[in-house]
Amino acid sequence: MMLDNTKGKTMALHDRIKQRREEKGLAAIELAQRAEISKGYLSEIESGRASRPSGDVLFRIATVLGTTVADLLEREVRPASRAVHPMLRALATEEELPDEDVQMLAQIRFRGDQPETKEDWRYLYESIRRSIGRRP
């Protein structure tokens, strides 16, 4: 997919890093040590004074924070996941379907068509689950 880092961004990178750190309850010095960067550099990153860190540094920060570089950069890496039929999305919300199952169903097409009603999506999903359940 074309890499567009400006579309739909709600938060700057430095704010996101700081937010994630605070969500994890990490002191800045601890994040800096575990990411093997200086506290001063981390302070510059979180205040937005540093230019964008390298991929290696971002990765180390993301790893300590238990997330991915894509999350820190708010990169949309699964554009096809947007294309979920509204009735499937309604079923997913109602039944609290796992995201992976929703994405799997969203890819299914029969001669180019997909189910049009929530009940038809439910039938398809149950059929797949039952047929998988019958395997030895």
Partner: protein, 314 residues
């Protein structure tokens, strides 16, 4: 040469996303953009970091039959790689999985790749992901200086595989795509002509036992040639038992010199360097010779004799 026909959703989505009519070039462009995002200026670009840029939480080794897979573990997308494979193969597979996430059609689904690096034309998605992996692991912009300075030689091949942390054949394929010089890398393995292959357990005709069965010869099983190497390389063509190709399995594992190669139009004298590089696949060790063929030998005295390398596990 007529352009290849692409019929898959994946190919169409790359064309649409990149504005390029050739999905191969489009895939390479997507790979380049990911490398640019990471800001590296020299190899290797670590697959785990590339994966993190694509929302993958971890690249981990696992006990598995497949080469690699994209799966969810504890609701996080991870890449799992066959722990038994060599570093170069593992890197290629990890980049192959990352390439799946580069496709505009990727929607977070799990993927299991029994094999990678086959560049099979039968599956466009897998072919495009192999091309993406090659572009991520051996980017032309970093590879070209090595090729230009090193020239077509076994030393260049081994140097590239080491610096880029790739397998020998992945390096050979990418080097030839650059077309910096007219040359070919040929992989020889022992095998039979099609009409010599016998069924397992087939008995010899009575009275003919003393003649023995057909003996395997060194045969071309894979070849990578530059566009400027204007010779067709026929698959399964054999090398003579007295050839430099066969000789490099004995002793020093490296031979070089001029040799007559019959590529289908009569003997052609070419300069070659041959390196014995067996590899393990599953439980089987396969004997393999990798040759580089050029019409004109590189300048200078005798070639650098390469140091032995660890056996690849593919």
């Amino acid at each position: 040469m007529p352009a290849r026909y692409w019929g898959s959703r994946e190919a169409a989505s790359i064309r649409k996303a990149t504005g390029l009519s050739d999905p191969i070039t489009g895939m390479q462009r997507l790979a380049d953009q990911l490398l640019d995002e990471g800001g590296w200026d020299q190899p290797p670009a670590p697959p785990a970091i590339l994966a993190s840029f694509q929302g993958v939480h971890e690249v981990r080794l696992a006990t598995m039959q497949s080469a690699g897979r994209l799966v969810y573990r504890d609701s996080h997308l991870v890449i799992e790689i066959n722990e038994e494979h060599s570093l170069g193969k593992r890197n290629f597979t990890a980049d192959h999985e990352v390439s799946h996430t580069l496709l505009p059609t990727y929607a977070g689904q799990s993927i299991d790749d029994l094999e990678t690096g086959m560049f099979l034309k039968g599956s466009e998605e897998e072919l495009l992901c192999d091309i993406g992996a090659a572009a991520l692991l051996l980017p032309p912009r970093w590879l070209r200086p090595h090729a230009v300075v090193g020239g077509p030689s076994i030393s260049t091949l081994l140097d590239v595989a080491s610096v880029f942390e790739s397998s020998l054949e992945a390096a050979a394929r990418q080097l030839t795509h650059l077309d910096c010089w007219p040359a070919a890398f040929i992989c020889w393995e022992e095998g039979f002509r099609k009409d010599e292959r016998v069924a397992k357990g087939q008995m010899m005709m009575s009275g003919f036992e003393r003649f023995g069965g057909p003996r395997p010869k060194w045969r071309i099983c894979r070849a990578y040639s530059t566009r400027s190497f204007h010779h067709f390389i026929p698959n399964n063509k054999s090398a003579e038992d007295t050839s430099l190709v066969a000789a490099c399995c004995e002793g020093d594992r490296f031979t070089w010199g001029f040799e007559d190669f019959d590529l289908g139009n009569g003997p052609l004298k070419m300069y070659c360097e041959n390196y014995y590089a067996p590899y393990r696949k599953g439980d089987t060790v396969r004997r393999r010779v990798i040759s580089v063929l050029v019409a004109v030998p590189p300048q200078g005295n005798q070639p650098t004799v390469p140091s032995p390398t660890q056996m690849e596990i593919l």
